[in-house]
């Protein structure tokens, strides 16, 4: 059971490029299926290419893609940008929730980085706040998330409510 869980996690964690042949090593993926947190919701298909067209890499990838950080809070220290070993969100934002214990760690980098959000937090804070700021892109939960059976049970969703016009986006 334990082994199975571990295997399932290893497979599902993070981004799996999908949609046709994978682009060459140094090309960013066009479509990313986000399913590391799928349990109550079906995996989310994230159109990476669309976001590349609209936003600077550093908007989301901070300083790991070798483009300089844009947030003035980051640029205090991160004056130069070297490409990180990995640009995947999950490398810094774990599936584990942040906790007060992060603030107690003695590592020098934790002097400032005492408050790193989880993977779910990173997605929902980054995505939603930006969508709101630029007034484009999905905002409502169901615009991205179709419920699994488990999810429907969790939220006490009845089929009648899911069928209402407002919620149909959930099944697309």
């Amino acid at each position: 059971m334990k082994y199975f869980l571990f295997a399932a996690m290893a497979i599902s964690i993070g981004a799996i490029p999908a949609g046709g042949a994978p682009p060459p090593e140094d090309e960013p993926p066009r479509l990313i299926v986000l399913d590391s947190l799928a349990h109550f919701y079906e995996p989310v298909r994230f159109d990476h290419q669309l976001h590349i067209d609209y936003a600077d890499c550093a908007e989301c990838h901070h300083h790991t893609t070798a483009s300089p950080a844009t947030d003035p809070r980051c640029t205090i220290c991160h004056t130069t940008a070297t490409a990180g070993a990995s640009v995947a969100c999950r490398n810094c934002h774990g599936t584990k929730r942040p906790s007060g214990e992060d603030a107690a760690k003695p590592r020098p980098s934790h002097r400032y980085h005492i408050d790193i959000v989880s993977l779910a937090g990173a997605y929902h804070i980054n995505c939603l706040d930006c969508h709101q700021a630029v007034d484009a892109g999905p905002i409502e939960c169901i615009d991205c998330h179709a419920f699994t059976e488990e999810g429907k049970k969790f939220f006490h969703l009845t089929d009648s409510l899911l069928g209402s016009p407002k919620n149909q986006g959930a099944d697309q």
């Binding site: 906790s99 007060g100 214990e101 959000v117 779910a120 929902h124 969790f154």
Partner: protein, 309 residues
């Protein structure tokens, strides 16, 4: 969980009464400077992150086996249909609710998760004369229905009006309130169910001291996004649930008239008498009664002089 039987309650009451007679201060009066157990756990709620998705409510409902809600937890109309109170509050069917406030100071609605704040010096606990409440070393204020007599003093005592009463049985009175998931999670140092369900990390679990550090860090690094105040750091003598807000707390629906002194400091003198009334008075009056009878039976005996002293 520490269970307190009715017998041990009376034992505790008698001890308190004896201490009272001998001139010791009783337990509530000693609590003045208590600033929480070392390493006790807490939760930081960040209003700038909460979007009112109600995942935390759904998680609480499942974890605590509470009754099914009237409408699904995805229903956003609950924020508008708040009835005569004008805002949502926890009740006997929901230990936690998210309430919406529309402040002119914010360009979007503000959402605030409400539940028991697990005070460092809980007035519910102090007010309860059968000791149904316990503040655990991990920080939870838990309630034991097996000793509760249903007097509802705790409901009146709580500065945040949290304890709710379940009316379905007169014989088995039961207060319903957030238990910090103590039985299933907190006692094993695991975060409560609501925290794990929050998609925006609006809820952060950890030691209270660390969370205060994180809260100050957020205020310091984003001074334009937060007011410079941590609600619960001092309110009601300090609470285990702490809040950050982008607008002054009164604007976000918080009661800012809650005193920073623990509530018990105002009522401790009265509360210290309660166990005494219950335990000494019967004995005292029985004694008076016996002495009076003795005097009547033996009006000329030496005992009369003793009773006059």
């Amino acid at each position: 969980m520490k269970r307190i039987s009715r017998r041990s309650f009376f034992k505790a009451g008698t001890t308190a009464a004896l201490a009272g007679i001998l001139g010791f201060k009783s337990a509530p009066a000693q609590a003045r400077a208590f600033s929480g157990y070392a390493h006790s756990k807490a939760v930081l709620v960040d209003l700038t992150r909460c979007i009112g998705c109600r995942s935390c409510e759904a998680a609480c409902n499942k974890e605590q086996g509470l009754p099914a809600p009237a409408t699904p937890f995805t229903d956003q109309s609950v924020f508008a249909d708040t009835g005569h109170l004008g805002h949502r509050r926890p009740d006997d069917k929901a230990y936690t609710v998210v309430d919406r406030t529309d402040s002119p100071l914010a360009d979007h609605p503000l959402f605030r998760k409400i539940q028991c704040n697990h005070c460092l010096e809980p007035s519910c606990l102090t007010a309860c004369f059968v000791n149904a409440y316990t503040k655990t070393a991990q920080g939870a204020v838990i309630y034991d229905p097996s000793v509760c007599v249903g007097c509802r003093t705790c409901m009146v005592a709580c500065p945040f009006s949290i304890p709710a009463f379940r009316y379905d049985s007169a014989l088995h009175p039961r207060i319903m309130k957030c238990q910090f998931c103590y039985e299933t999670r907190l006692q094993y140092d695991r975060p409560p169910a609501c925290v794990e369900a929050c998609p925006r990390d609006a809820l952060t679990f950890g030691e209270r001291e660390s969370l205060l550090r994180i809260a100050r860090h957020r205020i310091r690094t984003r001074p334009d996004e937060y007011v410079n105040h941590i609600y619960g750091e001092h309110e009601a003598g300090g609470t285990s649930w702490l809040y950050l807000s982008p607008v002054p707390f009164a604007e976000a629906g918080f009661d800012t008239t809650v005193p920073t002194e623990p509530i018990i400091n105002y009522v401790k003198d009265f509360l210290a008498i309660v166990p005494m009334v219950l335990t000494i008075w019967p004995a005292l009056f029985a004694g008076f009664h016996l002495l009076a009878r003795r005097n009547r039976v033996h009006p000329d005996s030496a005992d009369t002089e003793i009773s006059d002293e």
